[in-house]
Structure formats: structure tokens, C-alpha cells
């Protein structure tokens, strides 16, 4: 442990710095971010940068003006604290130590070992927990192969939450899994529900009743969460959600996990109907997977997402029709438009309006101050994608970091350099779960800081008339999203109003009535903040279109 002196160099920011290097001490990045927050919240503290001393994190610390002892390496834990005075950084360090103890206590409580050391590899964890059917991996992508191979060799099913797993490793793991008779969900699989247990980001489902039970095979995490939330609202029981990760249905991976998952659900006596939800697979893979899907005993509904295709909400309605169940009215809170919900006349697959919309495309330069624009800030990639499909059908081109067409792409790195100034970019929808936004911080479904910063910035843009946001509930998501978002929405609307502008905020609220965040209270709090809230993402997008169109009409008149 090395402590560097606290005499800040003349160029360094004001305050007292204390840099401590704990050699060979490791914690995962999410835990360290939470610990950093705890240390930074101590009285008199300005900044707490607590991270493994990777080159990136050392650079961040240097950028913050900290002095880093030479010889500090990626196996060291860097504790860089800045506060008003010596007492403040001491309080910060004490808070750091307490937060570490709390984190360690949690991880011990999470383990089943009352004696003996915690296992260091999945292999020894499998030996210690012979009945554990599932291994949930969220280790760095480069470390997945060894741990997942351990799990497969021990005959366990694996869910790989991690991203950045090399494609070759994915194929290798899935071939090994097929030989061992186990399922690999992922990599980059955020959501699964097994036996009612939510793994990763997943929602609390109502207990299974005597009604039809649907099993889900999902290549999209938030897509699956939206699907099961709507089905749950419609009173449909969900037997299981098996995730695939975003690459399973590619040509290279060839649906290896999809095939296993479909067969598992087909063989499951507790599943009456199967829903496969994905972006359109590679054609060769689609043939293979759909052949398996259609050769089983259990009926399969396929929901393929993208331009010119039904929305998730419409897909759910198809499933309900197939089950002979009525389609409910999807919940809204605070909607000020038509009583039957936002206009459904201009769906994205409505060719005529689609073309008309394109012809009104926002020109890629500022200056038409009579036209007001929409900004979408999403934490769920699939939700952002679906919203864009709906919006493009009515509003024309939508620029994005995950664009519908390559020419609509935004160069994020240059935008980030400019402080994420979107002015003059027209309608924009951002996926804030993009790696570019999550470097050095957790996913926006866990930590909304980026979303809140962007929200305030967009409210100050005179072109912006409508903000479209998503809020995803369920296990592992932020404990009380409305607590910070509702006041931020209220402040955004007020600041726009002070500047003499109308600003509408639409929230797509993805979650179930049983989620730990209490969906009803979240919705009410968001409405109190001034938002209009929709349980259907497509409906939220349509509402946003209605609001833009009326704002533009007003502005043009």
C-alpha cells in the first residue's frame, strides 16, 4: 500500500488529494463504482475515483489531476480521493473501507459456504454446489471462455451476461454445450427467467394459473422484458424466458442455442405455446431455426422486429389471438390525447404514410426554427430500435447511434468530445446502453446519470419539443428510477417553459405490476413530474409523434 502526499501541484484542482494503491486487491467494476459513489458522498469530498488501475482508469485519474505512483498496474486497486481538506479525504477513505466491508459481507451472504474459502473458479463452485443448475457469468468478456467451459464440463446450463466475448469462443462454447446437453444463453444475454427466478435484468411475473403458459426464446433482452411485461398485463403465464444473446441467430453461430432452447420448451410439459422474439435472423439460420420451431408439438409464434414489421405490442396481440385471449388496452398514465390511445393509423408498416414521412425528412442543418424535433433517450437498445421504426414512419429520418440506415448514424466519439451537443441534428434517438456511454460507469438501467444529464441538455435546446424516454423495471435495474427522473422531468419542463417553449415528455415504462420498484407508484410519480407514461413502447412512440405533429402545426401556424 502506497500513499502519495497530499500537496496538490499548482496546476491541480483545489482541495486535498489522497491516492492509495492497494496491491493485488480486486473487485469488479460495478462494485467499485458503487463504492466510489459511497466514498464520494462522504462530507467534504469532491471526487472519489476508485478503480482497478487499468491503463484506462489511470488515464482517467491523471485527467482528474491525481498523481499516480509509478509501477501501479492493472492488478492494483487505485483509491484516488479529493476533498475540501484532510478530514474530508479521511472521511472519504473511511467510507470507502465501510463500503468494501459491506460489499464483502454481501458476497459472503451470497455464497453457500459456511466454512472454507469461496471458490475461485466456476469448476470449484460446481463441486461445492452440485445442485446448481445454472451458472450466471458477468465476468469480463475475455475471461468467459474458461469459466463457461468449467460450467459445461460440470453439466450446468450457462447464462453469459458478459459482452465482448469473441465470436469464435461463442461457437466453441455452444458446440461444447450441445455435446454436453446443456444450454448456453448469451453472450450478451441480459434477461432470462427460469422457474420464476429472474436472472439478470428480468421482471417479476404473476404466479402461473390454469391458463395457457407461454415460453419465450429471446435474442433481445429488453425486447423480452417488454414482451413478458405486456403478456403479464394480459394475464398470460410465462413458463420460462430463455435468452440467446444478440449473435445466436447470425450466420456464423447459426442458431445453436435457439435450436436447443426451442427443443427444451417443446419438451416442457409446462409450456403450451412458444414465442420466438428476435431481429430478423440471417436467412440461412432462419431456415434452420424455423424448421425446428415448426416441427415441434408446441405451437410457435415468431416476432421478428424491424422496419416494415409489427411492433412488439402487435406481436403480443398476435400471440393473444393465437391463444384465444382478449387483447387488453395497454396501460397509460397521464396521457392527454385521445381516450383510445395515440393514433394507430400510421403504423410503421403503413407504406403510404411511411413514404410521405420520408419526404418530410429533417434537413441535416439547423435553421428551420418553425419545426420542432424529438429526442429519444433509451437504456434498452431494442426499445430504442422499435421506437425509431415507429417514429420514422411518421416523422421521417431519425438520427441515432444505432441507426435504421447507415447514413443516419451519429458519430458518437465526436459528439462526446463536443459535450453531446445534438443541436441541429433533427430528430435523434440514442441508445445510452452503447459502450461509448458506459465506459467507466454502469449501464443506464442501473445508473441513470447519463440519461439525466442528457435530459437537462435536450430541454435547453430550443428545437426540442418532445422527449421520449424509457424506464425499465425489474430485478437488477435501478431501485427507484422515478426518484431522480421525475424531478428531472419537472425541471426540464419548467426550464423550457421559462424560456417560453412547450416541452412534452413521454415515458415508455417497461415492467410488470409485480416488479420490486412498484410500477404503479413509478408511473404516478413520473406523471406528477409532468410525463405521459405508456406501458406499450410502440404506443409511447406514437404519442411522441402526435405531440411532435401538433407542436409543429402550432409552430408553423
Amino acid at each position: 500500500m502506497t500513499v502519495v502526499g497530499d500537496d496538490a501541484a499548482t496546476a491541480a484542482p483545489a482541495g486535498v488529494d489522497a491516492v492509495t494503491v492497494l496491491h493485488g486487491d480486486y473487485s469488479d467494476s460495478v462494485t467499485l463504482l458503487r463504492i466510489s459513489q459511497a466514498a464520494g458522498a462522504a462530507p467534504g469530498m469532491h471526487t472519489a475515483h476508485i478503480a482497478m488501475a487499468t491503463p484506462l482508469n489511470v488515464e482517467l485519474a491523471l485527467g482528474l489531476g491525481f498523481e499516480i505512483p509509478s509501477g501501479t498496474g492493472p492488478n492494483d486497486l487505485l483509491v484516488a480521493l479529493r476533498g475540501d481538506d484532510q478530514a474530508a479525504v479521511q472521511a472519504g477513505y473511511a467510507a470507502f473501507e465501510q463500503a468494501r466491508r459491506d460489499a464483502a459481507a454481501t458476497s459472503r451472504a451470497g455464497g453457500s459456504f459456511s466454512n472454507g474459502p469461496a471458490p475461485h473458479t466456476v469448476r470449484s463452485a460446481c463441486a461445492a454446489a452440485p445442485d446448481a443448475a445454472v451458472v450466471l457469468l458477468s465476468v469480463p468478456g475475455g475471461s468467459v471462455l474458461g469459466e463457461a467451459m468449467d460450467a459445461i464440463a460440470a453439466g450446468r446450463h450457462v447464462m453469459i451476461f458478459s459482452d465482448n466475448v469473441p465470436l469464435g469462443h461463442e461457437v466453441l462454447l455452444k458446440d461444447a454445450a450441445a455435446a454436453a446437453g446443456v444450454l448456453v444463453m448469451g453472450p450478451d444475454c441480459g434477461t432470462a427467467v427460469i422457474g420464476g427466478v429472474a436472472l439478470g435484468f428480468a421482471n417479476v411475473l404473476q404466479p402461473l394459473s390454469n391458463g395457457p403458459r407461454v415460453g419465450i426464446v429471446a435474442a433481445s433482452g429488453t425486447g423480452a422484458q417488454h414482451l413478458i411485461s405486456l403478456l403479464d398485463d394480459a394475464g398470460v403465464g410465462i413458463s420460462a424466458v430463455l435468452g440467446l444473446g444478440g449473435r445466436d441467430l447470425s450466420e456464423t453461430v447459426g442458431g445453436r442455442s435457439a435450436i436447443t432452447a426451442l427443443k427444451m420448451l417443446d419438451d416442457d410439459p409446462g409450456t403450451d405455446h412458444i414465442v420466438l422474439i428476435s431481429k430478423p435472423p440471417h436467412p440461412a439460420t432462419a431456415d434452420k431455426v424455423l424448421q425446428i420451431a415448426n416441427s415441434g408439438r408446441t405451437p410457435v409464434t415468431t416476432i421478428l422486429l424491424g422496419p416494415g414489421r409489427p411492433t412488439i405490442s402487435e406481436g403480443v396481440e398476435t400471440v393473444l389471438e393465437a391463444l384465444g385471449l382478449p387483447v387488453p388496452t395497454w396501460s397509460t398514465w397521464g396521457w392527454t390525447g385521445a381516450s383510445d390511445g395515440p393514433s394507430r393509423a400510421a403504423g410503421p408498416h403503413h407504406k403510404g404514410r411511411n413514404q410521405a414521412g420520408r419526404s418530410q425528412a429533417w434537413p441535416n442543418h439547423a435553421g428551420r426554427n418553425h419545426t420542432r424535433v424529438l429526442r429519444g433517450l433509451f437504456s434498452g437498445g431494442t426499445l430504442a430500435d422499435e421506437a425509431m421504426v415507429v417514429l420514422a414512419g411518421r416523422l421521417g429520418d431519425i438520427r441515432s447511434n444505432i441507426p435504421l440506415r447507415p447514413d443516419l448514424g451519429l458519430n458518437l466519439s465526436s459528439l462526446i468530445v463536443s459535450g453531446l451537443d445534438l443541436s441541429g441534428q433533427g430528430h435523434v434517438v440514442l441508445d445510452l446502453g452503447d459502450d461509448a456511454f458506459t465506459v467507466g460507469r454502469p449501464h443506464p438501467m442501473i445508473d441513470p446519470t447519463v440519461k439525466l444529464e442528457m435530459l437537462a441538455a435536450q430541454a435547453a435546446d430550443p428545437d426540442v419539443a418532445v422527449l421520449l424516454l424509457d424506464v425499465v423495471l425489474g430485478y437488477a435495474a435501478e431501485a427507484d428510477p422515478a426518484a431522480r427522473l421525475a424531478p428531472a422531468i419537472a425541471a426540464a419542463i419548467e426550464s423550457a417553459g421559462t424560456a417560453g417553449r412547450d416541452l412534452s415528455v413521454v415515458v415508455s415504462l417497461c415492467g410488470t405490476a409485480g416488479d420490486p420498484q412498484n410500477r404503479e407508484r413509478q408511473a404516478v410519480d413520473l406523471v406528477d413530474g409532468g410525463a405521459q407514461v405508456f406501458s406499450s413502447n410502440a404506443a409511447a412512440a406514437r404519442a411522441a409523434c402526435d405531440l411532435i405533429e401538433s407542436a409543429t402545426e402550432i409552430g408553423a401556424s
Binding site: 480486486y26 469488479d28 460495478v30 462494485t31 492493472p74 460489499a103 454481501t106 458476497s107 451472504a109 451470497g110 455464497g111 453457500s112 472454507g116 474459502p117 469461496a118 471458490p119 475461485h120 473458479t121 466456476v122 469448476r123 470449484s124 463452485a125 461445492a128 454446489a129 446448481a132 443448475a133 445454472v134 451458472v135 450466471l136 457469468l137 458477468s138 465476468v139 475475455g142 475471461s143 471462455l145 474458461g146 469459466e147 467451459m149 460450467a151 460440470a154 453439466g155 450446468r156 458478459s162 469462443h169 466453441l172 454436453a180 446443456v182 444450454l183 427460469i194 422457474g195 420464476g196 427466478v197 429472474a198 436472472l199 439478470g200 420460462a240 409450456t271 442501473i446 430485478y475 437488477a476
Partner: protein
Amino acid sequence: MPTPPDLLAGPPSVITAGIDLLAEALVAQAVEVTAVDFRPALDDPPGTADTLSTVLADPRLAAANALAAGRMLGVRAHLVDVLPASEALGLAPGEFCHAGPPITWERASGPMRGALIGAMIFEGLAADVAEAEEKLVGGQGITLSPCHDHHAVGPMAGVVSPSMWMFKLIDESSGAVAFCSLNEGLGKVLRYGAFGPEVVDRLQWMARVLGPTLAIAVRASAPIDITAIVGQMVQMGDEGHNRNRAGTLMLLREILPALIASGLPPTDIADVARFLAANDHFFLNLVMPCGKLMGDAAAGIPGSSIVTAMCRNGTDFGIRVSGTGDEWFVGPANTPQGLYLAGFSADDANPDIGDSAITETMGIGGMVMAGAPAIVRLVGGSVSDALATTARMYEITETENPAFAVPILEFRGSPTGIDVTRVLRTQILPQINTGMAGRVAGTGQVGAGLVTPPMNCFVGAINALAATVPWSQ
């Protein structure tokens, strides 16, 4: 392959590795969670983790390692003979074997030089220390080679010269042979680098009386099942590296009838019995060739990342790995941490030395510290450290050896077959128990303690293994 559980049978219990938040979300749902204390793999120098991935992706790896470990467990080592090194290894005058990977006089440490000086005098190649040193520096007519290259192993300096007598062991399952010198006892002894008159006198008695006497007794008792004795000694509190007391007594029990019936002069028999009884480490030199047979049995399997030898020459630590054959992967030997004999301190200790880390290679020694609570203080630890150490060693080994069961761990088999990939994945190094030699030639033993190999041996090995992966570049 285990039968997979029915994924959809009901609420599962879950193993987690990675982000604590995901484990906490499961605990909040009252799910039984086993959390892995995960650390990222070594990536020093950068690129090592990617190289490790290349080896982990080698389709041969799992089966090759299972085969290598299976071969280690299949060895049944039997003591069949005692004979001079000139016959056993075919050594000619001026040819010396030594511990560890290859070394030259120029790079040799104090105790290695001391042992070579003593062996020169013992062989009559030099009249005194000065002459021995001069000839060793000159190198005329002198050949140094690792014991490991002669199917042999030697503790500490491991110096073997033609007139020294050696145990000969055979693996009855394969016919493979391994040799080891006879143990001289503790204190001022050749293997710790001492070369005074008492050292040379003892070596001469061993060649004149001990070797031939043991040869008669062993041939009359052969074959003596060394694997069985190792299994028993591990259950009796020996870890087979720094404690060999039970093993030594069991050997004496095996050969005593033949010794008494040999017809040799009663004074010689009494001297031999007294020598064995006074040297608790006598059996180390039978554990080691047993380990050598096990390591050799696992060697040369394409794609296997199992360590087949760990050894030190007092300057370098070297390992061999199954999938890369005879290639040595070396790094600078660490200096052990532990307790010192009266009058010595850390400043007097030489870096790690000896082939005796073959005991850890075979899955005992430091690997089964849990079973040897009597010596945890000798090597500077506590009983709970010993339990934790052995538990940790299971993380880096391929298999468990039921023949060497650890009673305190519910008779769990010893952690066997150190896997280079698991060492790098966990950054857990094999734990070695060892004696410490004085760094100055002629000193002898200064203490005992714990040591680990340098990590770069394993980095070197993974680079070489990656180059053998069929589809890598």
C-alpha cells in the same frame, strides 16, 4: 460427462461469477447462490490473457489434460534396486548431474558450487577446495547436466556423481524407471552446498557401506510399493516434502528383516539402521523418484497444459509441461520465506533450489499442507493457513488422487496435475514447502519455509502451448 439437470424443472439454485449486483438480485429472490470469488486472468505482459484464450480454445485441451492426469494417477512406483550412479545413469568420471534446469558454473549459486566442489573431492578429481574450484571454472573434462535429463531427481543441489549410490524405481504399469540419490541427513551436507571433511567422509561411508547394504536388503525385499507407502504417510501427517518421518519408518519396517538376514556384519547393519532412524528425510529420496515417474508418465501428450516437472537449480526455477515435451520454461528462483536455524537469517538464504518440487508436481508436499499440521510452524504458518492452502491448490489442479487421500478433508484425494491454464486464470501459484540452503558455498542448511515458482515460467509455457494449437496462426 455428468447428466445435465432439467433446466425447466423449477426454481434453480445458481452459481454466479462477476458483477455482485446480479448475485444480490438472486439473493433478494431467496435463490440459493454460490458466488465465485473471481479475478481476471493474468495479463502481464499484455497479451498473455489472449494467449491463454488460444490455449483454452484448443479442442484437444480437456481430453489431453484428463489423459495426462490419468497417467499420473496410474503410476505404481516400486523400489527394486540400489546401485551406483555409474551403472544407474551411466555417468563417467567428470560427469555430474544437478538439480533444476540446465546451469553453468558461471551462473551457479553458492550451494550448487559448494556441492560440485564436494563431489569433485569425493570422486578424487581434486585434492582440495581450491583445486576443485579451479577445475570447475576451467571446465576441462567436466560435464554438467540436469538430473531430469537422466530419468533422475536430486534434492537441493541434487548433485550426483558416478560413485554415489541411487535408488531405482520402476512403474510396473509402464516399465518406466526413475532414480534418486540416497539422503545424507540434515545440517552440513553436500546437497545444501557443504563440502567439509565430515561431508566427504559421510559420502564415502554411504558409498562403501550404506549403498551396498541397502542394495542387498532392497533386492531381497523387492518390489517395495513406494506408491502405497506415500499414500500411508500422507495419512500419517507427512506431506512428503518437508516431513517424511512416517515414510522413513515404514521403509525401515519393509527392509529390516532382509537387512538383519543379510549376513552382513552386525555393526554395519546397526550403523545403517541408526543412520536411517536419525534421518527423518531419508524417505524424501523415494518420494521424489515416485513423483518423477508420475511426471514422466504425463509427459508428451499433445495439447496438454499439465506441469510434468518443477525444479530449481538455485538460480532459475524451471517447469516442463506435458504438451511441450522437454522444453524448460524458466524464471528467476524466488527466495523462500520461513524459519531459520539458530545463527542464520533471511540474509543468509539462497534462492530456491532442488528437484524436490517434484513432490508438489505429483500432488503432495505443499499441495497437501492440510494433512501435515505438525510442520506448519516449521514453515512459518498456521493450521488454518494449511487448510486454506490445500483448498486453494484444488483450483489449479486437473484431478484428485484417491491414492494420496487427505483425512482432514474427508479423505479428499490430493490436488494433482498442476494446470498452466488454471494457474494463469486464477493467478494462484503452486505452494512449495522447502528447505533453505545458505547462499555461501560450504554453509549447509539455514532454514525451511514456503516458496512459489515465478509466474513467468507459466507465461512462457502458455506462449509455447499456444504455438502448438493446430489452428493458431
